[in-house]
Amino acid sequence: MNSRVLLAIGIAIAALARPALADDDTLKKAQASFDQAQNDYLAGKFDEAAKEFQDAYAARPFPQFLYNVGAAFHMKGKKSSDVESYGKAVEFYKKYLSEEPNAADKAKVEKAIGVLEAEIKRLKDVPAGAGSGSGSGAPQGPSQEVQSLGEVKVRGLVVIESEPQGATIYLDDTKKGAFATTPWSGSLEGEHKIMLEKKGYRPVDTTLIADPQKLVLYKGGMSQDSYLSWLDVTSNVAGADVFIDDKSVAPRKAPAGTNVPPGKHTVWVSAEGYDEYQTTIDVAPGQNASVKAMLKGSPLGRLDVVGLGIEDSHIMLDGKELCDHGPCIKNVPEGDHTLTVTRPGYKSYTKRITIQQKQETSVKMIQTPSPGRGDAVVAYVLTAVFAGGGIFAGMQASDLHDQLKKEIAAGMPPPDSNDPRFLHGKIYAISADAAFTLAGITALTAIWYTFRDKGPPTRAQIDARAIALQPEVGSTYAGLGMEVHW
């Protein structure tokens, strides 16, 4: 065995035997180099920055570091029209893409590579000495294409690791489902809550502020808990909502795994268009349990409720809230449904609609303001006036009637048949009857005015169009394609 082989075996053994502490050291070294490189980069010391980014990569081979090395050479070449620097920039950009073939900025990096390679060619084609003040049109700086790439900025990096590795990462909310598995590195922006869960370990979480120009590290140390049990919930419907013991909290997304206390647990799994699945499972301390929820669903169609002012409208389907406000696009089981759209100050709309499988039913609302009730108020006032007049006249008639009746009975002196009080009483009585009649008529009118539906009703234009879903497979993707015909 030669000495080179022995050295390789030694390195491998050392790597295998490297304790967790060694990982922390390399990470810290990578971060220190990154920070120094960033400072050099901002100070225009691009060679130093490139070296520090390479040191960081040597400590922890995150592909973003390679991009940053390329960026440093890119900027040096741009400043000095240095062919060699441009060449190194192209080299490290290509390494970056080699290690991160699905990078989100792949197209942009490839474009930069092309521009820089053209720039190298352009610089090499320039005769020697053309650039030293001859005034012959030789290039004095970067080409227009290089200029158009703009100032290149180095990229920050978020690194999430755990001890031990292999923990599930949840970002912000478990209901979003698992984000990734440690170790993970990549780009994030803004503030996020990071939650780590691993079978047999107590979950940990922290809040992380991602700086797009810094290396941000989080490493969650997870302690073992032999008492906790682990519950895996899977479903035939990916992304189905998973509730464990409490339906009022935000659901997890299937597949979901979590630590649970030993004992009985109720699990609900639901998804739109499917019947809810529910089961109860008894989990022993420290054991793993799993629930496989097979959801049975009914064929779905899509309901799309839109229209002017729909943002202020409340949409109900079959008496249950479908959307708190519009626009409302929901999958709905096929069949007949009662759609109700209400909006404050506008006439409500209720319509029996039929949702068909694989069809989108579009309901475009044309809402009509509710009519004013001023005429009803006037009618009520008139009713009160007439009723009051009727009561007054009726009381006067009654008083006169009683008075005359009493005087006739007494006979001292007897009123005569032409006593004006008979006529007055009659007039009062007729007036009272007329007033009561008018009060009744105006009351009915007022009630009718109160409940009548004045003006055109709220209406809707309903269109149904077919939704065709078909599997599609491409060179870099696979999924469902949709065609809509109407």
């Binding site: 009637h401 006739i408 006979g411 009123p415 006593d419 008979f422 009561f436 009915l444 009630i447 009718w448």
Partner: protein, 403 residues
């Protein structure tokens, strides 16, 4: 909400709150007194003088004299108490009478005939509209302005103011014909008769002179009435108050079963507003007429003697009397003892309009009417004639059927 229910509720509410205006018609029908308003007969002052003209049978009849322009009409009452203006309405201007005195002389014979006696349009003539109340005939004959008139049976006797010495001042009309006139003198044998009121019993024509004296003429002689006529000796009486009667003065004779006079009731006033007086005389007193009782009656303008439910009353009309602080007039009804001639100290009943109006002149004339076989009181006021189908003095409703 179901609109049918709303309508039903409204109708129920209306029926509960509705006033039956017909109740006032029903109540009006039950009123004890019936009022006949001025009909459209061409007079602005309806009911200046009235006299009951019916004698028997269902319903009743009242003759009415109105003025401005002068008319004669009747009120015809049905058995239920309803009334209407009779078919005969005489515009008196077409019957010798162009104007009426303040208190037109309207008398009845008690057998369905009436007579209106007035100064005729032709100077020196007396106009008479007389006969059956529903169809009277006119008559005019030479004579001085009339002062009083009365029926003695079917004979109409008219006392007039003598135009000159030895001029006729007493006229007799039988039916539609003047049958005689004579020169009547007062008890002194020389002074021409000046009568404020006259009335007849079966034997005498009693006179209440304008000087306040009471005396009598023999009725047979009066009916003959061809030359001079002297008062019957021993009938003269001068009331102690020396009361001189004026407009509206009446002398009522209360007779015995045979019709002979027993008492004379003098009712009148010296002027329109004051000095009214009622005096009752015992005509059968051995020493000549004796004053039994007197009653101050200021404002008295009309009077009549009536028998309600077998009881006799003196009815007095005071058309200017204040009632309920309004000068609307009232009618007092006093007990009259037909045996002793005594008047009640206070009215047995006082009638006035339950809704009095100023100037109503309630009681400017009073009379009685035979109504459904009963005697009921009728009172004239300004443009109204009240018929009392029931009072506390005859409490049983006389209408048939009673309401």
């Amino acid at each position: 909400m179901n609109r049918f229910i709303l309508v039903a509720l409204s109708l129920v509410t209306l029926s509960l709150t509705a006033c039956k205006w017909t109740d006032f018609d029903d109540l009006s029908d039950q009123a004890w007194a019936h009022s006949q308003d001025k009909p459209s007969i061409g007079s602005t002052d309806y009911g200046v003088s009235i006299v009951g003209a019916s004698t028997s049978g269902d319903g009743g009849l009242v003759s009415v004299v109105s003025t401005d322009a002068p008319t004669y009409s009747t009120i015809s009452y049905d058995a239920k108490g309803g009334s209407k203006t009779g078919d005969t309405v005489l515009k008196l201007g077409q019957h010798y009478i162009v104007s009426l005195s303040e208190k037109p002389i309207l008398v009845t014979d008690g057998a369905g005939n009436v007579a209106l006696v007035e100064k005729a349009i032709d100077a020196g003539k007396i106009a008479v509209v007389s006969g059956p109340a529903s169809a009277p005939a006119d008559l005019a004959f030479a004579g001085s302005p009339p002062q009083a008139a009365t029926y003695a049976g079917s004979t109409l006797i008219i006392a007039a103011q003598a135009a000159a010495a030895n001029a006729p001042n007493l006229f007799v009309v039988d039916g539609a014909n003047p049958v005689g006139n004579c020169i009547a003198t007062e008890p002194d044998g020389t002074t021409p008769l000046a009568a404020a009121a006259i009335a007849a019993d079966t034997q005498n024509l009693w006179v209440w002179s304008t000087t306040g004296d009471v005396f009598a003429y023999d009725l047979t002689a009066v009916k003959a009435c061809t030359a001079t006529l002297a008062a019957v000796a021993g009938t003269s009486f001068s009331p102690m108050t020396a009361f001189a009667p004026g407009t509206g003065a009446r002398i009522h004779i209360v007779g015995d079963a045979a019709g002979a006079a027993e008492f004379a009731i003098l009712a009148g006033h010296a002027d329109k507003a004051t000095n009214g007086e009622v005096v009752v005389l015992d005509l059968k007193h051995a020493g000549g007429p004796m004053q039994i009782s007197t009653l101050a009656a200021d404002g008295l303008l009309s009077s009549t003697v009536a028998t309600f439910d077998s009881s006799m009353y003196l009815v007095l009309g005071y058309p200017t009397k204040t009632v309920k602080n309004v000068a609307a007039g009232e009618v007092d009804i006093l007990d009259l003892d037909p045996t002793t001639g005594t008047l009640g100290d206070t009215p047995s009943e006082t009638l006035f309009d339950a809704q009095p109006e100023n100037g109503e002149v309630f009681g400017r004339d009073v009379t009685t009417m035979a109504f459904n076989g009963h005697t009921v009181l009728v009172v004239a006021a300004s443009n109204e004639v009240f018929s009392y189908y029931r009072t506390s003095l005859y409490p049983t409703d006389t209408r048939n059927p009673a309401p």
